[in-house]
């Protein structure tokens, strides 16, 4: 009686082996490393870059433990932090703008573990240090922009087709056109009817017409809004990925969250102000021709230069191309060695640029930097309480005004931009400007590297102290049975680590708290079982039956109790963000593994101790 079959033993050993193997990578320390990637995020690292990196390292007599391709990057590992820093500056000096060189810590997981998918636990930002941003894409202004450009397109179309429009205007969220005669009205309706500008992707605008006043109104349909939102968020995600890439952070996260938000996490980033400057550029660009002195006041606007020393200039009101058409911008040198900026536009942007510049060679083309800034004012709400109202305004300034020397297309260059430094800044601004809709920060968390380290140390210390005190108590209170429970408890901690590493779950500070809590609660199952065994013994049952009954009768209770806790932690996972999700994950995994170790694991040990033996007296 009270023996497990060989199959059951094999199963327990197998689960334990998996737990041990997958928690092993956490024992190998992380090695200083360097990560190299092309600045252009569309290009992934290749053999030629790899060769170049190896060459540079050899020429500087820096020995790397390994240099190899990993994902889209080249990763070089070093034995010391000094070698890492020396390598970084050597590489940066040669590769310059072409590649991003980032300091990094690479796990030194042995090959055989990596080949079966093993790796150390991922650390959350509160443990590794770094920045977390939550950005909100301003869909309203994306919608507004689109409506503006739609209005212009129709006005032009009606002018070209000689349709007389009595009035055309943007009113709140719709466009309203009124036509003079019935004939113009029906011609216009035909244009609205078969024109593909009335659609956004696959979704259509809502079109309403009334023949009484020859009036047509155009508004977004729900599906059109959704399409625009998805486009804007998608576009901004891409832009953000590029910007993050420029920062040279290893393992950044740029993810959509909900309908119009984007999460950016940059582990290990120390200069948060610089990171924020590049990420947070809520900027756009506009390319416009400089207004001739004869241009009517109504068709030109005056703008200041971004560089205050330059004064101001007049540009035409008509926008040729805006920032979202810019696909790339980089700095370089022209034939005579002066700094220049190369710009690429997408097809549509190229066509517009070609049309605008073809008759205007010799005139100047201006690049406007459009930045959204926030201003807050105190106002009174309906209850007479002071509340803060945030308003944002848009600031436009000229970053470049250069003479058009030829008809421009999808790619062209701006010369005479000053020093190489200024050229690369301008290129950065141009790239940064490529946002489909402005964004603003709605949440930001920065954790300094020393706090992260401190959190890990404190967390591990409390795990160890908690574990030891529980182990001591169980041993003191239950003796041999306590020993069995303790072995199971220890196995539980190993299993939690192993499974979290295997699942790629992120460990956070509340996550560590979750492990500590699990340690305290995991023995509950054993306490329940042992109390039951005591009761059975008190009722006069023989030891073997008491063990048998104790386990089986406690099982239902343990199961019900754990399922309800699991419900609470699943809800926690659903509502929580970042660190709290980490807590919910460790708690859930802990509940499941503790059921395994406390019920099956402890039983196996107790069976080995007492099973099939003739025990006269059992002390629990």
């Amino acid at each position: 009686m009270n023996r497990f079959s060989i199959g059951t033993h094999a199963f327990i050993l197998m689960v334990l082996a998996i737990g041990v193997i997958y928690s092993l990578p956490n024992l190998y320390p992380a090695k200083p490393a360097i990560q190299i990637a092309y600045t252009d995020s569309g290009k992934s690292a290749d053999q030629s870059l790899l060769d170049q990196v190896s060459e540079i390292l050899i020429s500087k007599a820096i020995t790397a433990e390994s240099v190899g391709l990993k994902d889209n990057n080249i990763v070089a590992k070093f034995s010391s932090f000094d070698a890492q820093l020396a390598a970084k500056s050597a590489l940066q000096r040669v590769l310059l703008d072409r590649a991003v060189v980032a300091l990094n810590l690479e796990p030194s997981t042995p090959q055989w573990l990596r080949s079966i998918g093993g790796g150390p636990l991922k650390l959350g930002l509160d443990l590794s240090g770094g920045v977390h941003f939550l950005l909100e894409v301003d869909i309203e202004s994306a919608l507004d922009n689109r409506l503006d450009s739609l209005l212009n397109q129709y006005r032009k179309k009606f002018r070209d087709d000689r349709i007389s429009v009595e009035s055309s205007q943007k009113n709140d969220k719709e466009l309203i056109f009124e036509f003079l005669g019935d004939e113009d009205y029906s011609k216009a309706l035909k244009i609205f009817g078969d024109d593909n500008i009335t659609s956004v992707g696959t979704a259509l605008y809502d079109l309403q017409s009334s023949s009484i006043r020859n009036r047509v109104s155009l508004a977004y349909s729900q599906s059109a809004i959704k399409e625009i939102r998805d486009y804007a968020v998608g576009q901004n995600l891409m832009t953000l990925r590029n910007r993050v890439n420029e920062l040279g952070v290893s393992e950044p996260i740029v993810q959509r969250q909900g309908s119009s938000r984007i999460v950016v996490e940059l582990p290990g980033v120390q200069d948060t102000t610089a990171a924020k400057k590049i990420i947070g550029k809520t900027a756009n660009l506009e390319f416009r021709l400089e207004a001739a002195s004869t241009t009517s006041r109504l068709r030109k606007e005056e703008f200041d230069y971004q560089d205050e020393r330059m004064g101001s200039a007049y540009l035409e009101k008509n926008v040729i191309v805006a920032g979202e058409r810019v696909t790339n911008a980089s700095s370089g040198f022209d034939e005579s060695g002066f700094a220049q900026v190369n710009i690429s536009l997408d097809m549509q942007g190229g066509r517009a640029m070609q049309k605008a510049t073809s008759g205007n060679i010799g005139r100047k083309l201006g690049v406007l930097f459009v930045e959204r800034k926030n201003k807050s004012i105190l106002t009174l709400d309906e209850n007479g309480q002071e509340v803060i109202e945030q308003t944002s305004y848009i600031e436009k300034s000229i970053i470049s005004l250069a003479t058009v020397q030829a008809v421009l297309g999808t790619s062209f260059r701006i010369t005479g931009v000053g020093s190489p430094q200024e050229a690369s800044e301008l290129a950065l601004l141009l790239r940064a400007g490529a946002l489909a809709a402005p964004m603003k920060f709605v949440e930001e968390r920065t954790v300094g590297p020393s706090l992260g380290k401190e959190n890990i140390e404190l967390g591990i210390r409390s795990i160890i102290i908690g574990l030891l005190s529980v182990i001591a108590f169980m041993l003191f209170y239950y003796r041999w049975f306590g020993l069995a429970a303790n072995i199971a408890l220890f196995a539980n901690v190993v299993l939690i680590t192993g499974f979290m590493s295997l699942l790629g779950a992120t460990l956070t500070l509340p996550g560590i708290a979750g492990i500590v809590l699990t340690i305290g609660m995991a023995v509950d199952a054993n306490v329940l079982i042992f109390s039951r065994i005591r009761e059975e013994l008190a009722e006069g049952k023989d030891p073997q039956t008491a063990i048998q009954e104790g386990f089986s009768r406690a099982f239902v209770t343990i199961f019900d109790a754990n399922v309800t806790t699991l419900i609470a932690s699943v809800v926690l996972y659903a509502i929580g963000t970042g660190p709290i999700k980490g807590f919910a994950i460790t708690l859930s995994i802990g509940i499941i593994t503790s059921m395994f170790t406390a019920i099956i694991g402890t039983r196996a040990i107790i069976n080995l101790m007492y099973g099939n033996k003739n025990i006269q007296e059992l002390r629990v």
């Binding site: 807050s376 920060f441 005190s469 809590l517 926690l572 929580g576």
Partner: protein, 305 residues
């Protein structure tokens, strides 16, 4: 420890009064003082910095005032070299943290940044709504599960016990003006899980005894059940408290609120699993028939023509 036979149920009137008094106090405090919402829920900016030696908080306050801030708190965090500055959400700007850090560093270059947190007003209120909703969803789902596994009177008892625990913890946080942030909310949900654990163990025993032995008064059966599970209840609470105390004393300041909430939760939860549930069951006049094992449905179907 097995057969102490404490007549728990004869003290039920006193327990009810105590619970009601605590609940009333909590609700009053929540109503009048409200919760001291942490940054996660209130929105605003928080900066933690470490100086190389102990600093005079007054000087930092002066610096803040001179730089045009008026609604802020400056406190020590953990040690006298660690300083935590909280700025109420004056203008919802994410730049604030950097600005403050810049002028603090200009004043003392040896100072080191620990963390900056900025939560926009909108996100704060969303987290608040989400947290409250999550709590209700969790309670609702647990009610359903317990009703399904036990019986509705147990479910009502369990959920009352949980609500009792949650309200009292919230009340204490309100009374002592402790910071209520996301980690405390997480702790609250963990308390729900923990207290439920306890409740289910006791309920399970009550159910078993009701089914097993006929001819006893409900009060007597409940009393016996509580006594039978008492040693387990106390041991589990004890080991859980052990690890929580380890967390409280050694886990650092960032999860102190978390361990605080859980320690109170374990204490209140242990009490509520003994008194609140049993009290509710007696109040709802539970009988042995409520817990009779339903006859297998198949039998009836077989007899149908």
């Amino acid at each position: 420890m097995i057969n102490l036979n404490i007549p728990f149920m004869s003290y039920r009137k006193i327990a009810t009064m105590t619970s009601l008094a605590l609940l009333a106090l909590s609700i009053l405090s929540l109503g009048f003082r409200g919760l001291n919402l942490g940054l996660d829920f209130s929105g605003g900016t928080l900066i933690e910095v470490t100086y190389s030696e102990a600093v005079d908080l007054g000087e930092i306050r002066d610096l803040m005032t001179n730089n045009g801030f008026d609604d802020f708190q400056v406190v020590n965090f953990g040690s006298d070299t660690d300083v935590l500055i909280k700025v109420a959400d004056k203008d919802g700007s994410s730049q604030l943290g950097d600005t403050i850090f810049t002028f603090l560093q200009a004043d003392d270059p040896s100072m080191e940044l620990q963390r900056i947190e900025f939560v926009g007003p909108q996100v704060g209120s969303e987290l608040r709504d989400q947290g409250g909703l999550g709590m209700l969803v969790a309670l609702g789902m647990i009610l359903l599960y317990v009703a399904f596994r036990f019986q509705y009177k147990f479910a009502l008892g369990a959920v009352t016990a949980l609500a009792h625990d949650v309200v009292i913890i919230l009340g204490l946080f309100s009374l002592f003006a402790w910071d209520f942030d996301l980690t405390v909310l997480a702790a609250l949900l963990a308390v729900i899980g923990y207290s439920l654990n306890d409740t289910i163990v006791v309920s399970d025993r009550i159910r078993e005894n009701f089914r097993g032995e006929r001819g006893f008064e409900p009060e007597e059966i409940i009393n016996r059940s509580i006594n039978q599970t008492l040693s387990r209840t106390l041991i589990t609470s004890f080991t859980t408290l052990l690890v929580l105390l380890a967390l409280y004393f050694f886990g650092g300041d960032m999860i102190r609120g978390f361990s605080e909430a859980l320690i109170i939760g374990v204490l209140v939860g242990t009490y509520s699993s003994i008194y609140v549930v049993a009290n509710m069951l007696l109040g709802l006049s539970i009988t042995q028939d409520d817990l009779a094992i339903p006859e297998a449905e198949g039998v009836e179907f077989d007899e149908m023509p």
